[in-house]
C-alpha cells in the first residue's frame, strides 16, 4: 500500500502532460474530467495511504521510497526519494482533498474561459509540484517542488495575460518570492557543506550533535531557511506580492494563495524544526514576524474594498498566526491552524468567487449588498467560513486552532505576553474585518443584481468545505472542552510536542478573553457596517481617518517604500551604467584586435605567389632556428 505513494505526485503530473500536449485537441468535457480526475485519483490514493497509516503505521512512523538515484557525485548522493510521516500525511491529505474540491469548483467557474485546458494543466502541475514539496525526503526534491509551485503561481497569476497588470502582478510575485528562494538555496548549500547530505531525516538527526544551541552556523542556517519561508508564505517583509496575486482566477487564489502554496513556508519550518530549535534567536524572530505580520495584515484588511484583497490580507494575517505558533514552538498548533485555515479560507475564496461570478466580475464590496436572499447557498456556506475565520467559539474549527495558538503563546517557555497580546488583538481585528465583509456583501440593501445561481459543481464543494470548516476542529480540543488530542498525538510522532502545560483555569480564562474579543469584533462590525453605516462613512470621510484608511488600503505603503528603497535606486544605477563600464574594457579589446586585424589583412594581398614566398620565408626562418641553435 505504501509503495503506491509514488502515484500521488505522478498522477497530477501525468494529467499536466496530457493536458499540456493534447489539451488543445480534447473536448471541454474531457478536460473537465481529466483535470479534476487526476487530482481526485491522487486524493483517493493519498487518503487510502493515510487510512493505512492511521490503522497500521510503518515502523518509526516513517516510510521512504526511493524511486531512482538522482545525483551521485563525490561525497553527495541525492536520491529521488519520497517520504511519508505524519506531517506529510496531513499536508498531503489537505492538499489533495482541498485541491480536488477546488478543481471540481473550477470546472464550473472557468467554464467559459478560452484557456480551459491550459488552466487545468497548470493546476495539475501545481498540485503535483506541491505534493513533491511535501513528500520529498530530501531538500533537493523539496526545492524542486518549491520552485515548481513558484512557477505555477507565476503562470496562474498571469493566467489572463492579456491584461498587462496581471502580467505585472505575476512578475512581482515571482521576483519577490525569488528573494526568499535565493536565501533558501544558500541555506541548502550551507546544509550540504555542513552535513554532506540533503536527506531531511539525516540532517535532523545530525544537527543537535553537530551544533550547540545558538551556534552561529545554526542561526545562519535557520535565518536563511526563514528567508525562504518568509518569501513563500508572504510574511514581513516579503508580503507585498500576495495581495497583487489576486489577479489570477479565483480558484487559483483559493488553492495557491490561501490553502496550499503559501503554507509551504510553514511546512518548511515545521519540517526542519530541529534546526530552529538550535537557534532560539531565529525562532523568536519567527514569532515576532508572525505577530507583526498578523497585525499589519489585519489592519490592512480592514480598509480594503476589494473582496478578494480582503481575503488576501486575511490570508497573510492567518499565516502570521501560523508563524507565531511556530515561533513559540507550538509546531502542532501551527499545522492544526494550517489545516483548518485551508478549509475555511478555500471556502471563503470559493464563495467569493461564486459571488463575483454571479455579479459579473464585480469585486467591490461597497457595490454589493443583500445577497443573503439571492444566493442562499453561498450565504450560508460563506457564513460558516467567516465564523471559522473569525474563530467563533465552540462551533467552528478556527476557534480550536486559534485558541491553541494563543494558549501556546502564553504558556510556552519561548513565548511571552506580548505575542499573546498581538494574537488577541489580531483575533478581534479578524472578527471585525470578517464581519464587515459579511454584512456589507450579504446584508443591507441590494446594490448590484446577481445573474443566476451557481450550479452544483460550485455549491457542492462549498458545502463540503463548510462542513469541514465547522467540524474539522473537533480532532483537537482543549482540556476543558472535551480534551480530544487526536491531531497532536498523531503529529507527535513527527514533531515534538509543546513543552509546557498551563493550568485548566488559565486555559479557561484565556479562552474567555479570546471569546470576548471575537464577539466584540463581530458586534462592532454589526454596529459600524450594518446599523450605523452612514455615520461610519461620514466619520471616515474626515481627513485623519481618511489618511489612515488610505495608508491601510495601500498595505502600509510597503510597495511605495520598496519602490523608493530598491526599485528606483536600481533603475537609476542601471540608467547611469547604460553603457556598461565593464564593457569598455572588452570593447577596447575588440577595437585593438580590429586594428591588429587591419594591419594583418594588409599582408593579404590576394596574390597567390606572395603567399608562397611567405611560406618559403617562414620555412627558412624555422630551419634557420634549427640550424643555428
Amino acid at each position: 500500500m505504501y509503495s503506491l505513494i509514488w502515484l500521488v505526485p505522478i498522477v497530477p503530473f501525468a494529467g499536466f502532460l496530457l493536458l499540456a500536449f493534447a489539451g488543445r485537441y480534447l473536448p471541454r468535457r474531457a478536460v473537465a474530467i481529466i483535470g479534476p480526475g487526476a487530482v481526485g485519483l491522487s486524493a483517493a490514493v493519498m487518503l487510502l495511504i493515510s487510512g493505512q497509516f492511521l490503522a497500521a503505521p510503518p515502523a518509526g512512523y516513517a516510510y521512504e521510497q526511493t524511486l531512482w538515484s538522482w545525483i551521485a557525485t563525490g561525497g553527495l548522493e541525492v536520491g529521488f526519494t519520497l517520504y511519508l510521516d505524519p506531517l506529510s500525511v496531513v499536508m498531503g491529505c489537505v492538499i489533495t482533498v482541498v485541491g480536488f474540491l477546488i478543481h471540481v469548483y473550477a470546472t464550473a467557474y472557468m467554464a467559459e474561459d478560452e484557456g480551459y485546458s491550459k488552466f487545468f494543466a497548470y493546476m495539475n502541475l501545481f498540485v503535483g509540484a506541491m505534493l513533491l514539496l511535501v513528500l520529498g525526503q530530501n531538500l533537493l526534491v523539496l526545492y524542486l517542488g518549491w520552485e515548481g509551485v513558484g512557477l505555477c503561481s507565476y503562470l496562474l497569476i498571469g493566467f489572463w495575460y492579456k491584461k498587462p497588470e496581471n502580467g505585472a502582478a505575476a512578475m512581482k510575485a515571482f521576483i519577490v518570492t525569488r528573494i526568499g528562494d535565493v536565501a533558501l538555496l544558500i541555506g541548502l548549500f550551507l546544509l550540504v557543506v555542513q552535513f554532506g547530505t540533503l536527506d531531511i531525516p539525516a540532517i535532523l538527526a545530525a544537527a543537535p550533535g553537530a551544533w550547540a544551541v545558538g551556534a552561529p552556523a545554526a542561526v545562519a542556517a535557520a535565518l536563511l531557511l526563514l528567508g525562504g519561508a518568509v518569501g513563500k508564505s508572504a510574511q514581513l517583509p516579503l508580503q507585498t506580492w500576495l495581495p497583487d496575486a489576486m489577479a489570477g482566477p479565483t480558484p487559483v487564489s483559493a488553492l495557491i494563495h490561501a490553502a496550499t502554496m503559501v503554507t509551504a513556508g510553514v511546512y518548511l519550518i515545521a519540517r526542519l524544526h530541529a534546526l530552529f530549535a538550535l537557534a532560539p534567536g531565529a525562532l523568536l524572530l519567527v514569532g515576532i514576524i508572525g505577530a507583526a505580520t498578523l497585525l499589519l495584515a489585519a489592519f490592512s484588511a480592514l480598509a480594503q474594498h476589494d473582496l478578494k484583497r480582503i481575503l488576501a490580507y486575511s490570508t497573510i494575517s492567518q499565516l502570521g498566526y501560523m508563524f507565531l505558533a511556530l515561533g513559540v514552538g507550538a509546531w502542532t498548533a501551527a499545522l492544526f491552524h494550517f489545516m483548518t485555515h485551508a478549509f475555511f479560507k478555500a471556502l471563503l475564496f470559493l464563495g467569493a468567487g461564486a459571488i463575483i461570478h454571479s455579479l459579473r466580475d464585480e469585486q467591490n464590496i461597497f457595490r454589493m449588498g443583500g445577497l443573503r436572499r439571492r444566493l442562499p447557498a453561498v450565504y450560508w456556506t460563506f457564513l460558516a467560513g467567516a465564523l471559522a475565520l473569525a474563530a467563533a467559539p465552540l462551533i467552528t474549527a478556527g476557534f480550536y486552532s486559534k485558541d491553541l495558538i494563543l494558549f501556546a503563546a502564553w504558556v510556552s517557555p519561548v513565548g511571552n505576553r506580548w505575542l499573546w497580546g498581538a494574537g488577541l488583538l489580531g483575533a478581534f481585528l479578524t472578527a471585525l474585518y470578517t464581519f464587515r465583509m459579511v454584512f456589507l456583501v450579504f446584508h443591507g440593501p441590494e446594490r448590484t443584481a446577481p445573474h443566476g445561481r451557481p450550479g452544483p459543481a460550485m455549491t457542492v464543494p462549498l458545502m463540503i468545505l463548510a462542513l469541514l470548516s465547522l467540524l474539522g476542529g473537533f480532532v483537537e480540543t482543549p482540556a476543558d472542552l472535551g480534551g480530544v488530542h487526536l491531531f497532536s498525538s498523531f503529529l507527535g510522532h513527527a514533531l515534538p510536542g509543546l513543552a509546557a502545560h498551563g493550568s485548566p483555569a488559565l486555559e479557561a480564562a484565556l479562552q474567555l478573553l479570546s471569546t470576548v474579543a471575537v464577539l466584540g469584533g463581530i458586534a462592532l462590525a454589526y454596529q459600524l457596517y450594518l446599523r450605523r453605516r452612514e455615520a461610519t462613512a461620514r466619520w471616515l470621510a474626515r481627513p485623519a481617518p481618511d489618511a489612515a484608511r488610505r495608508l491601510l488600503l495601500a498595505g502600509w505603503g510597503f510597495d511605495w517604500l520598496y519602490d523608493r528603497l530598491f526599485v528606483r535606486p536600481f533603475v537609476w544605477l542601471a540608467t547611469v551604467n547604460k553603457d556598461d563600464s565593464v564593457d569598455a574594457f572588452f570593447r577596447g579589446l575588440a577595437r585593438a584586435s580590429l586594428l591588429l586585424h587591419g594591419a594583418l589583412s594588409r599582408a593579404q594581398t590576394g596574390n597567390l605567389r606572395w603567399y608562397a614566398v611567405g611560406f618559403a620565408l617562414g620555412v627558412m626562418a624555422l630551419l634557420a632556428i634549427v640550424v643555428f641553435r
Binding site: 614566398v613 618559403a616 620565408l617 620555412v619 627558412m620 630551419l623 634549427v626 640550424v627
Partner: protein
C-alpha cells in the same frame, strides 16, 4: 644498381627543371611525366615496387592525365605560350632562386650533419604494405577515404553548371 638510382635522379632533376621553365603547358607536363617515371624507377631501386607501380598508374596515369584533359579543354595554344613568355621576365627568377638556394643550404646542412646509413635494406612488397595499411594505419585509410569523398563532392559541385545569375553561364549551357 646504384648507378640506376643516380641516373634516374639526374633525369628527374633535369626534367623537373624543364617543367618549371617551359612556356608550353603540355611540354611542361610531358617533362613532369618523365620526372615522375624517373622517380618511379627510383622507388623501384629503393625496394618499393608497389609504390613504384602506383606512381605510374595513379600519378602519371590518372592525375597527370587530368591535367592534360584540363589543358586541352582550355585549349591553351600558342597564344598562351606567348603570355607565358611575357610573364616570365628573367629577373623574376632571381628572388625565388636566392630563397631556394638559402633553403637548399639549410636543408643540405641538416641532412648532411650526421651519417644515417644506407637505403634499400630490403624489398618491401605489396603484401607488407597492405597489411600495414589495414592494421596500423586503419584510421588513416578511413580519413583518406573521407578526403577523397570530400574531393569528389567538391569537384562535382564546382564542375556543375550553375543556374543563371552568377556570371551568366546559365544562358549558354542549359544541357
Amino acid at each position: 644498381m646504384t648507378i640506376v638510382f643516380y641516373l634516374s635522379a639526374a633525369v628527374a632533376v633535369i626534367a623537373t627543371v624543364l617543367v618549371i621553365t617551359r612556356l608550353n603547358a603540355v611540354h611542361a607536363l610531358l617533362h613532369l611525366i618523365v620526372s615522375l617515371l624517373a622517380i618511379a624507377v627510383i622507388f623501384f631501386t629503393l625496394g618499393a615496387p608497389f609504390v613504384a607501380a602506383l606512381e605510374v598508374i595513379i600519378y602519371a596515369g590518372a592525375i597527370m592525365v587530368l591535367f592534360v584533359f584540363v589543358i586541352m579543354m582550355l585549349n591553351l595554344g600558342p597564344h598562351a605560350a606567348e603570355a607565358e613568355r611575357r610573364w616570365l621576365d628573367p629577373a623574376i627568377w632571381v628572388g625565388p632562386g636566392i630563397l631556394a638556394l638559402i633553403l637548399a643550404g639549410e636543408v643540405g646542412y641538416l641532412i648532411l650533419r650526421g651519417a644515417a646509413g644506407t637505403t634499400g635494406a630490403a624489398i618491401v612488397g605489396p603484401q607488407t604494405v597492405g597489411v600495414s595499411l589495414f592494421t596500423t594505419y586503419m584510421l588513416g585509410v578511413e580519413l583518406a577515404s573521407l578526403v577523397l569523398l570530400a574531393g569528389l563532392v567538391g569537384a562535382y559541385h564546382l564542375g556543375r553548371r550553375r543556374g543563371a545569375g552568377e556570371d551568366g553561364e546559365g544562358e549558354r549551357t542549359n544541357g
